[in-house]
Subunit: 338 residues, 4 copies
């Protein structure tokens, strides 16, 4: 039985608490938040769970095995550092930290204390993304040509992070899981539509070795909700639409054929190919349930999670490169291997 | 009665011929194309129309009042120059030319000879785009915040132009018509997925005075067809989906409210606003019919067309800036006022 | 504070418990179910709530003010009768009973004991259906011409009721709320696709005074999920699509114009009318929350609920007529006013 | 070379003329219509085609091999009878006739004169319907359980036929082609929403030997356009949506599993099965082109067309049964084998 303490009960905290409470081998023993009304809500639903306004009570609590951090991004590093230093396993909301050195510090702390450090890259645990990973691993779509994601809607304005850190972070985490490669350059442009607030619309481009391009469109001020990723391969193409209730993942046998025609190179070089489409059935299990189970398993077995500190760090690296490009009006930023 | 000669009977030519043939005050007297089979097709459908493999026969024909140019982009300038020099009114496929000086030459020729020079920016003549123009003119959506367009599908690979010149040109023409402003900087990134061929995927960003951003995603290698433009304003937002059979244009009363709250500036500054959506009825007349009628009217009345040489030149200007950025790996290119 | 006991914790029970638990002026003091595993689930989530396998413990409990019945249809009457006889207010799942006399008995019991009897016609409490009611009340769509509903998907086979009692009951409840009229005849056809099981597919037609027709298509064996109701009026028409995340209700200014043309009566009598469409914003509050609040309010104020025993009885009346027609291979069954 | 005369140039005639004009082995030598403006339109588009207001000129013309009848339903029989009697092959718009005896007369005339009699059941020649036929023939979906079609939109009011004869006729023709069985009973209900006009909304149910049910919903007064047929089988299910630009036919590996569980027959009898979905690629050739080619082939080879007089008669038989039921307020009409 893993005793869990949850720090932060805002937008996402209730989902974390509910999923960990449902696990047979975990118990949510304590929840902290700065807002009294939220703690009262915890108390109504989970009378057996201790509540506190001081997260350090949770970190100091010797009965707590693992700490889940669902607080604003700016506080992740400090709370995670304290928790790891106090011998707690940590599951931290994405993005893990604001900077790469911070991520390195947490990774090192976890290794030194032999603790599990996991980042809540939730989408990695959805049936849809796991199915796409399987398709890519099996070579279904051939060589990757592009990765194109749109994640827009009328979103909650964040005051401490811009739309890239809030929305594109999901796509960077999905891309990190699906591709076995890291970007070598990143460019980002954006606009802040409310004076004095962070960017509410942004476009990010990533370049990879071998010509693969990834592009991300994120927007807090869109009238319609779109959650769609297109992954183009040279034999097939995948469309992942997270808003579809069924058929979230579609595999299209569409593309082009290159024809070597010595007589008419100019016109016959390229022809269409339109074959069948299929939509594999997707495991409908709630991602957070899969993830919570995985976290507890990793703690119990001492294994590295799928979305460990290194995955968290890689996502932070892309975020920081995008931030640097944004600050330079869209100039592409090169990333060295590290 | 305006006698029309059509040069080029490939993909678009048949539509041009059909629409001009349907006009009561125009007659398609001649069609030229380099491929014999296409000319035979003209003859089957329009036995009364002369056919020729030599476009100069049309240009020299004294009974021809106006020439319509539907040939590859690289030939537009030369044919249009000859036609205007021979005293023919010209309707030319988009983009008008490959360079700004070429466009200037054509504009000057038309002015000198007192001829109508019009560019076939077809979408400008659709009921949907004309309705959006009306909505913007009436101030329906308030101050413009962004213009975001996606135009992707499994497209015909062009050998002489890349996907920006083939697809984004439509969006640049729509944007030119809808906005009363020209971009001050343009950036473009793209990838060529077939060796030795032009870029088949590209992203273009335009910046305007006052913070307005426009973004264009174009792709010849997409498994699904998308034709969607979102125009965000600070009071309302428009979604234009050209693939919708009805409700192509939707106006969303969605956005944010800024609240001046001296007590809690941090949290209360921004709140959502979700009101009604409405989809105005759209004139279903075929755009090319509207456009053909307009061309003949402009000739007869000596008026400047909506999409005259200057509009064609502005679109070429944006295309050239995008090409320059593409050649510099996405570096934003600044445009001086001219 | 109203103390609530919930009988039945199967598919719908958890939603009822959650919503009543969230009310400030109600408390879920006890839950009963025949399956031990379900009761354990209650205990995990609501440690302060008593659990029992014997629903009569709840009915006899003097601290319980109101009983919520979420058991199979065949048990509704008996449990509701006992609860009302024991002085408990009752909120019962739909359909209220299997027969009209049973419904009459419950209505009379509630009146005699001065208790609130409410039926869980959930959809009546959705923002979408309430908005449609408002539109109809305001005369937005003119005279009603037809009511056409499709409710199909791969559904849970019920063993005690057929697809009409399981799915069409929702539509009958919505229709009862929206229309100020009762059917004068009902016909139903259906098929049982699993031997020995109830009908899994059915079509129901209702006729009203004045020519209004209603039609219902319900199916447990459909590969796609559809939840769509079209309400045709002689000036406008409404499409209610419950699967839309936004724009669930759309009002179309479409229809026909009748033209009196003495010269050409034959051809000019009818012309199309295609105007704007609009989608009013819909209150997104969870229907069960609205309903739970309404139930507690009605108890506290002694008012008749929107979906009282009479509404429940009217829905049972239509269900029984459909069942009678089904048994006679689709022969229309006339209903006398009562 | 088959010389074709087309009688009737209203809504559908232009499509027929265009497709036959495009055939290499057919020529449209004459077109007749009662409206002068339509004939002028023919002349503009096809200057080489003779035009006449008197269809008998076409029937008497010795150079005409085949007559295509695209006139109102009420005239089909007379014109077809005259044409066949004059030794012309006939392609007739659907429905073939108003009555079964009329259809019999035409079938006999064609046989006596050794002429091709074909009915324009256009949808039978679409790539989508031909693909479904192939899937059914290969046993892809197992035993057929139901056939459910919705064909609604804001339609052109017909003055001489009701919505069943105008819209459901398409579905009856598709069903006739796809199923190897004829209905044993038919019921139809409907409503006329304009006084003095035919029914503008109707529901038709067909029963077959073995329990198969078919249902048709047709409506001229719907605010949205729907063209969707669901064909349920006991192993897979097909959804045919004619409005989809791609993926018109989808095959769902969804259904139920029957489990023989001696320990818990009640609860375990039925479980869901949700597998992959796939959308086979569909031949995009225009149906009328396939059909025109087939008609000319059948004439040249002396073969019976896919949609011959017997197919036309079977569709008329179902239409007449629906009309009889409609006249008796929805009473099911039994059909004897014939």
């Amino acid at each position: 039985m893993i005793n869990v303490g949850v720090i932060g009960y805002g937008y996402w905290g209730p989902n974390l608490v509910r999923n960990f409470a449902d696990l047979p081998n975990a118990e949510v023993v304590a929840v902290s938040d700065l807002q009294l009304s939220r703690l009262e809500s915890v108390h109504r639903r989970y009378p057996g769970t201790r509540i506190t306004a001081d997260y350090r009570e949770i970190i100091r609590d010797p009965t707590v095995d693992a700490v889940i951090i669902a607080t604003p991004v700016s506080t992740h590093f400090e709370i995670a550092r304290e928790a790891l230093s106090s011998g707690k396993h940590v599951l931290c909301e994405k993005p893990l930290t604001h900077t790469i050195p911070q991520a390195d510090t947490l990774i090192n702390l976890a290794r030194q204390h032999n603790l599990t450090l996991m980042v809540d890259h939730t989408f990695v645990y959805t049936g849809a993304v796991r199915k796409i990973k399987q398709l890519l691993s099996e070579g279904t779509i051939g060589r990757l040509l592009y990765f194109d994601s749109t994640r827009i809607n009328l979103g909650l304005f964040q005051h401490d992070v811009n739309v890239i850190w809030d929305l594109a972070v999901h796509d960077f985490a999905i891309m990190d899981y699906l591709l076995d490669a890291q970007p070598i350059a990143v460019a980002a442009s954006g606009a802040a539509h409310v004076a004095g607030q962070p960017e509410s619309l942004a476009y990010v481009t990533c370049w990879f070795e071998g010509g693969l391009m990834a592009h991300f469109s994120v927007n807090w001020l869109a009238p319609v909700k779109i959650r769609r990723t297109i992954i183009g391969g040279d034999t097939k193409m995948i469309v992942y639409d997270d808003l579809e209730t069924s058929e979230k993942v579609r595999v299209y046998d569409k593309g082009i054929n290159l024809i070597s025609n010595p007589d008419d190179i100019y016109n016959m070089l390229i022809s269409y190919r339109i074959g069948d489409m299929y939509a594999p059935s997707i495991d409908p299990t709630e991602a957070l349930h899969v993830e919570a189970t995985h976290f507890v398993d990793c703690i119990e077995r001492g294994q590295a999670p799928l979305t460990d500190g290194h995955a968290g760090r890689r996502v932070v690296r892309t975020l920081c490169a995008a931030a640097a490009s944004l600050a330079e009006s869209g100039r592409p930023i090169e990333l060295s291997a590290d």
